[in-house]
Structure formats: structure tokens, C-alpha cells
């Protein structure tokens, strides 16, 4: 097997994941914040940034799916790219996401003793932090 193909695909996958994460955070932050803004100019700006993030998210999601198809078509390539180190890093990243979700829930439980919080907001923020921490941990672990 050619080492350059493995490295090229590994780098492409990392880059796609990086911009996917960037897009996801921008888009979802904008999605949450927009409900709290009354000023039309700031709201427009946030929606624009959110749209920008959504474009990054969608384009890179398509890139990841296309790369996945290329990788899955060749068993040797798939095994090389999804080797035991990659799997270990993925488990570690999922564990980070899980720890963050538990921490966020604990924080909201504490806050709820003093204030009333919308359940939708709790879900949105937990989802944002949970998914983002999983993605960021994956990027940090897989960094060269």
C-alpha cells in the first residue's frame, strides 16, 4: 500500500473535521444566541455569522461523507486509517464529551435551584458543549 495515499487521506480527514467543528460551533452558537438578541443589527450580524458557520459545517460534512466512501471502498485503506490508535483517540474523545455533558448538567442543576431555566435552552447548551468537546478533543488527540 502506498504510504502517501494513507497520509493524504488522513490529513484530508483531519482538515475536514477541523472545519466541520469550526462551522458547527459558529452555527450552533448563533442558533442559541439569536433568541436573546433584540437589536436588529446585532441579530442580523449573528445570523450572518451563523449562516457562515452553517456553510462550513455543510460543505465539510459532505467532504467527510465523500472521504468515508473512498476509505470504506478499500478494506486495507480503511483498516490503516481506522487503526487502533485512531479508535483509542475516538474513545478518549467520546469520554471527554461525556464528562463535559455530565458537568454541564450538574451546573444547570445547581443554577435551577435559584432560577427557572428553559428546558430548550438547557438541551441546546448541553448539545453544543457535548458535541463540541467531543470534536475538539478528537482534533487535539489527532494533532501531529
Amino acid at each position: 500500500m502506498d504510504s502517501t495515499i494513507i497520509e493524504k487521506l488522513d490529513k484530508s480527514r483531519y482538515e475536514a473535521m477541523k472545519w466541520f467543528t469550526f462551522g458547527w460551533i459558529l452555527w450552533f452558537c448563533g442558533f442559541i444566541i439569536k433568541d436573546f438578541i433584540n437589536n436588529n443589527f446585532i441579530l442580523g450580524l449573528i445570523l450572518l455569522i451563523g449562516l457562515f458557520g452553517w456553510v462550513f459545517y455543510t460543505v465539510n460534512l459532505i467532504r467527510i461523507v465523500k472521504l468515508g466512501k473512498i476509505i470504506n471502498a478499500d478494506e486495507k485503506l480503511r483498516n490503516a486509517l481506522n487503526n487502533e490508535l485512531h479508535q483509542l483517540y475516538m474513545y478518549k474523545s467520546v469520554f471527554w464529551g461525556f464528562k463535559i455533558v455530565i458537568a454541564i448538567i450538574c451546573v444547570f442543576l445547581g443554577i435551577s435551584s435559584f432560577y427557572n431555566i428553559s428546558s430548550l435552552l438547557v438541551c441546546e447548551i448541553t448539545l453544543l458543549f457535548g458535541v463540541s468537546s467531543f470534536l475538539i478533543a478528537g482534533l487535539v488527540y489527532n494533532k501531529d
Binding site: 494513507i6 490503516a80 490508535l85
Partner: protein, 70 residues
Amino acid sequence: MGNYEFRNQIKVQRAMKDITQGELAAKIGVTRKTINTIENGKFVPSTVLAIRLARFFEIKVEELFDLIEN
């Protein structure tokens, strides 16, 4: 249980065979990153991967990897 240090001879064996980390990775069927992390002692490979590496270098697993008690 005491403290153990996991050492390996991959760098030496690679030098003897005159191959790069990328070339070794392709022969074994992993990424260069995996070979790099094993070589630097950041990642302890599975038994399967350890045997595959040892077979590639045509030496015993315990010659390639060693556990030193501190």
C-alpha cells in the same frame, strides 16, 4: 505493582532496514502517526500490532519491545 517503562527498538530496526516511519506504516497497514507514537513511547500497541511489527523486522516481540522495572 511496581512502575514499568515500556521501551522499543523500532527506531533502531528502522535504521537497520533503512525505511521511514511512513514506509513502515504502509507495510504494516497503519498511519505514520501510529508508528510515531509507538516509537516515542506515547502509545502501547496491541499484541496483534506488536507481533506484526516484530514479524516485519524478523525478530522476536521481546527483542522489539521490552518492559523495564524501575
